[in-house]
């Protein structure tokens, strides 16, 4: 099982990739790691933090759900309007990797729930993420780094 480190601001957490349920997506993701990018708080889905990936995929429709849980690590195409303040009209979506850090959140698109590929679970440091994300929301967001251990 592949373990990854998630560094957000001043804290770190660890996740395990679900290579059984999402073999193709996790294999693809491993090729993308490590990533280091601007962390962004969701403006439409609740308590979600995400980062842009430097590719548009493609990723398969695999291990998808609209019922994300706290600690789920997922990738999906987020509608461009929720990513870029000045929406580039020729771009419809951005491929992102993100996680939910508190309950009562659900990934949304323009017209309702959006299915995401669950690629892993955060197994350590969830409380730290749940503390750091709201802090950064008030004080300003920094970087997120995700790497294979």
């Amino acid at each position: 099982m592949t373990r990854v480190r998630i560094a957000l601001g001043a804290i770190e957490a660890f996740a395990e990739l679900d290579e059984v349920a999402a073999p193709r997506t996790t294999a693809w993701l491993r090729e993308q790691l490590p990533i280091r990018n601007q962390a962004i708080h969701s403006m439409e889905s609740g308590r979600e933090v995400y980062a842009l990936l430097d590719t548009q995929g493609p990723i398969p429709e695999e291990n998808q759900t609209i019922y994300q849980c706290v600690g789920d690590l997922f990738v999906y195409h987020k509608p461009a309007i929720f990513v870029e303040p000045a929406w580039p009209r020729h771009v419809r979506t951005f491929l992102v990797i993100g996680f939910i850090y508190a309950r009562d959140s659900a990934i949304r698109g323009m017209s309702g729930p959006l299915a995401t590929n669950i690629v892993g679970r955060i197994t350590q440091g969830m409380d730290a993420l749940a503390h750091e994300a709201p802090r950064m929301r008030k004080e300003g967001f920094g970087e997120i780094a995700i790497s294979v251990l």
């Binding site: 962004i40 439409e44 979600e48 309007i81 303040p85 309950r103 950064m136 929301r137 300003g140």
Partner: protein, 165 residues
Amino acid sequence: MSDQSQGLPASPRRIRISLPGSGAAAVADLLDDDCPDTCSALWDLLPLRLKATHDIWSGHLIRSHLEGDTYLEPENVLTYIPVPGDVFYYYRPARYYRGSPYGRLESAEIGIVYDHDTRPQGPRGPEAVNLFAEISSGLAELRTACEAMIYEGQKELIIERMDDP
């Protein structure tokens, strides 16, 4: 019968909405005809100096908590899908949501919609809000400053009277 003979101002009361850290300022007209009690209650609170935070549920809007006893009866609560420039009041009663979001058991808020594709909502879904003002100028500058809050965090928000009728 003129508006003035009915005790209403002939021209809309106006408020200035500014984010001093960014230099952005906009002017909004109060919707006295649609929600006179709300407009008067909020007018009486001005000037307000608040902390504004970007919303995480609703799209392109920022919001600020009002301090103290600021419960207002529902009035002009018709809008599920506001448009850019709409300014609304929203009250969340105690224990309406799980826990105490933002450290508050209950909350009275002012929201400012700065771009399209926005729908006020929370963990339980879409919420209708009390629309009480519309921005008439300065929205473009405000939009830029509001967008930046996603990355830069909360900012000071000042709402003040433009003029007395």
